[in-house]
C-alpha cells in the first residue's frame, strides 16, 4: 500500500469524524437552548399568550401619538445624535492606537496581554452602567453620555482592530521589515493601507450601534432622548412615548441609509 492511499483513508476517516462532531455539537446546543427556555417558562402556554394580550393593550395605548411634544423631542434627539457621533469618534481615536498595541505580530507579548486585559475590562461594563458611572464622575448631561459611549466603543473597536491587524498577511510584514521599516512605518505603510476599509467599515457599524444605544442613556440622566422616554413611561403618557419612538425610528433609518451610502460610495472599491 503506497503512502497516497494511506493518506486518502486518513482523510476519509477525518471527514466522518468531523461530520459526527458537527451533528452532535448542533444537537447539544439545541438541547441546552431548550433547557434554558423551559426553566424560564417559555413552554408554559398560559404565560406566553397572557403576555401577548398585555403587549396588545400597551400597543393600543400608544395610539394616536401625541405630536404636541415634537419640538422638545426633536431637540433632545439632536443631542442624542451629537452624543453618538462625538462618543464614537472619541472612542475611535483611542481604539486604533490600542488596537495597534494589541497586535501580536508587532508588539511583544507582555504589551499585547496588558492592552487586551485593559480592553476586556472596559468591554465587560455595559454602556448603560458606563453612563451611570460617568454621571457620577462628570455630572448629569450629554457629556456623561458621550464619555460612556466612547468607553463602550473602545471596548469593542480596540479588540476588533487588533484582530483585523493580526489578520494581515505576515509575509507583507516580513518583507517591509526586511526593508528596514520601524514600527510606526509598518502602521502607516502596511496596517493602514491593508486594513483601512475594514477599519472604517467597523467604525460605521459602531456609529449605527451607538445611535441606537444612545437613546437609552437618558434613563440614567446621561443626556439625550432617553430622559423623555423615562418621563413619559413613568407618567403613563404613552401617546407622547409613541412620538419619541417614531422619532427615534426615523433617525435610525436615516443613519442606516446614510452609512449604507457611505459604504457603497467609499468602502467597496477593493
Amino acid at each position: 500500500m503506497g503512502p497516497g492511499s494511506l493518506a486518502g483513508k486518513d482523510r476519509g476517516r477525518d471527514a466522518a469524524l468531523r461530520r459526527w462532531r458537527d451533528l452532535s455539537g448542533t444537537l447539544a446546543l439545541l438541547l441546552v437552548l431548550g433547557w434554558i427556555l423551559g426553566r424560564m417558562g417559555f413552554f408554559d402556554p398560559g404565560r406566553l399568550t397572557g403576555g401577548l394580550a398585555n403587549f396588545g393593550r400597551f400597543a393600543a395605548e400608544l395610539f394616536p401619538p401625541d405630536i404636541s411634544v415634537l419640538p422638545v423631542v426633536l431637540s433632545a434627539l439632536v443631542e442624542t445624535v451629537e452624543m453618538a457621533f462625538a462618543g464614537t469618534l472619541l472612542g475611535f481615536i483611542v481604539s486604533f492606537p490600542l488596537g495597534v498595541l494589541g497586535t501580536r505580530t508587532l508588539f511583544p507579548r507582555p504589551v499585547v496581554l496588558a492592552v487586551r486585559l485593559l480592553v476586556a475590562i472596559v468591554r465587560t461594563v455595559p454602556s448603560l452602567l458606563w453612563a451611570l458611572i460617568m454621571v457620577i464622575v462628570v455630572g448629569l448631561g450629554p457629556l456623561a453620555g458621550t464619555l460612556a459611549l466612547a468607553l463602550y466603543t473602545v471596548g469593542y473597536l480596540a479588540k476588533l482592530y487588533a484582530e483585523i491587524l493580526e489578520g494581515i498577511d505576515p509575509e507583507i510584514l516580513e518583507a517591509v521589515r526586511g526593508l528596514g521599516a520601524r514600527r510606526h512605518h509598518i502602521v502607516r505603510f502596511v496596517f493602514w493601507p491593508e486594513a483601512a476599509n475594514t477599519i472604517l467599515s467597523q467604525l460605521l457599524f459602531m456609529l449605527e450601534y451607538n445611535i441606537r444605544s444612545s437613546t437609552v442613556l437618558g434613563l440614567v440622566g446621561a443626556g439625550g432622548i432617553g430622559f423623555y422616554m423615562q418621563v413619559y413611561i413613568s407618567t403613563l403618557a404613552y401617546g407622547r412615548l409613541a412620538t419619541v419612538l417614531l422619532a427615534v425610528l426615523a433617525v435610525v433609518l436615516i443613519m442606516d441609509a446614510l452609512s449604507a451610502w457611505v459604504r457603497r460610495r467609499y468602502l467597496l472599491q477593493t
Binding site: 509575509e171 520601524r182 510606526h184 505603510f189 493601507p193
Partner: protein
C-alpha cells in the same frame, strides 16, 4: 540582542557575500529544518538554490535576510555577523524578495517602490507620506526602466502578476543593495514570462556587480541563468557546483525522491 553583536568591519571588503557555517534551525524544539548547512557565495555571482518543497530553502532565505533567529552555527552576510535584529546598515545592503512578493496591496506601485528607502530615511517625515523629491524621481525612473512608467499611480491589487513582480524588483533596487535574496518569486508566472523577468533581473545584477541568491525550481531556467547551483534536501546541502555540470536526470533523482525531510513544514 543588540547591534553590538554585529561586526560590520569588513562590509566593503571582498570577503564572500554569504558565509554560512554549520547552521541549525528548528521552529519547534527538536524538529530541525536546517541541519548543519554550509554555504559560501562569492560576491558578484548568481547562485540558485534548488531542492524539494519542505527542504528548508525558504527558511534559509529568511535567515540570510536577517528575519529569522537560528539555534546554532554562524551566518555572515555582506560582512555582518547575524544575531538577533540586524542594524539598518544591513537592511540597506541586503534586499529580500519573498515568494509572494510582500507588496502592500492597498498602496500604489510608486508608493511600494518608495518603501525601499525606509532604511535610508528613518524619520517621521515619511510617516506622513513625504518622501524626498529626488527619491520619488528615482522610484519613477526604476518603474520606467522596468516598463511600468504608466502604472506608477495604480494600486498593487489592480496590477497583473508580472507587473507585481517588476514592482518588487524596483522596490529592491531602491534599497541600493549589494546582495539580493529572491525566494521563488517567479513561481506564479508561466515559463516565458518568468524567463523574461529573470532575464531582466540578471541583466541588472551583472551590470551593477551585485550578488544574487535565489530559490528557483524551474529546471529549464536554472542552467542558462545561474553561475552555480546548490541543492538542499532534508535541511542539508547535498550538491554544490556549476549549473552546466549538473546532470539533470541525476538531479531529478536527487530532488524528487521523497523522504521524511520533504514533509517538514516551512519549506
Amino acid at each position: 540582542m543588540t547591534a553590538g553583536d554585529y561586526t560590520p568591519q569588513d562590509q566593503f571588503s571582498q570577503g564572500p557575500a554569504v558565509e554560512v557555517r554549520d547552521l541549525w534551525l528548528a521552529y519547534r524544539p527538536g524538529q530541525w529544518v536546517l541541519k548543519g548547512v554550509n554555504l559560501t557565495v562569492p560576491r558578484g555571482e548568481l547562485w540558485v538554490v534548488m531542492g524539494p518543497s519542505g527542504a528548508g530553502k525558504t527558511t534559509l532565505m529568511k535567515v540570510l535576510a536577517g528575519l529569522l533567529p537560528f539555534q546554532r552555527g554562524t551566518v555572515e552576510v555582506m560582512g555582518f555577523r547575524l544575531r538577533g535584529e540586524p542594524p539598518r546598515l544591513f537592511r540597506r545592503a541586503v534586499g529580500y524578495i519573498p515568494q509572494q512578493l510582500g507588496l502592500v496591496r492597498g498602496l500604489t506601485a510608486l508608493e511600494n517602490v518608495l518603501l525601499g528607502t525606509l532604511a535610508q530615511h528613518g524619520g517621521w517625515g515619511l510617516t506622513f507620506g513625504f518622501f524626498p523629491r529626488e527619491e520619488v524621481a528615482r522610484a519613477r525612473d526604476y518603474l520606467g526602466m522596468l516598463g511600468l512608467g504608466d502604472k506608477a499611480g495604480v494600486r498593487v491589487f489592480n496590477l497583473s502578476g508580472g507587473e507585481r513582480q517588476r514592482v518588487a524588483i524596483a522596490r529592491t533596487l531602491m534599497q541600493d543593495p549589494q546582495l539580493i535574496l529572491a525566494d521563488e518569486f517567479v513561481s506564479d508566472l508561466d515559463l516565458p514570462r518568468a524567463a523574461r523577468i529573470l532575464e531582466t533581473i540578471r541583466g541588472l545584477v551583472r551590470e551593477r556587480g551585485l550578488t544574487l541568491l535565489m530559490n528557483l525550481h524551474e529546471i529549464q531556467l536554472v542552467q542558462e541563468l545561474a553561475d552555480r547551483v546548490v541543492v538542499i534536501k532534508g535541511g542539508q546541502v547535498v550538491y554544490r557546483g556549476p549549473a552546466q555540470a549538473l546532470d539533470w536526470s541525476e538531479f531529478r533523482a536527487l530532488v524528487e525522491a521523497e523522504d521524511d525531510g520533504a514533509r517538514v513544514a516551512g519549506g
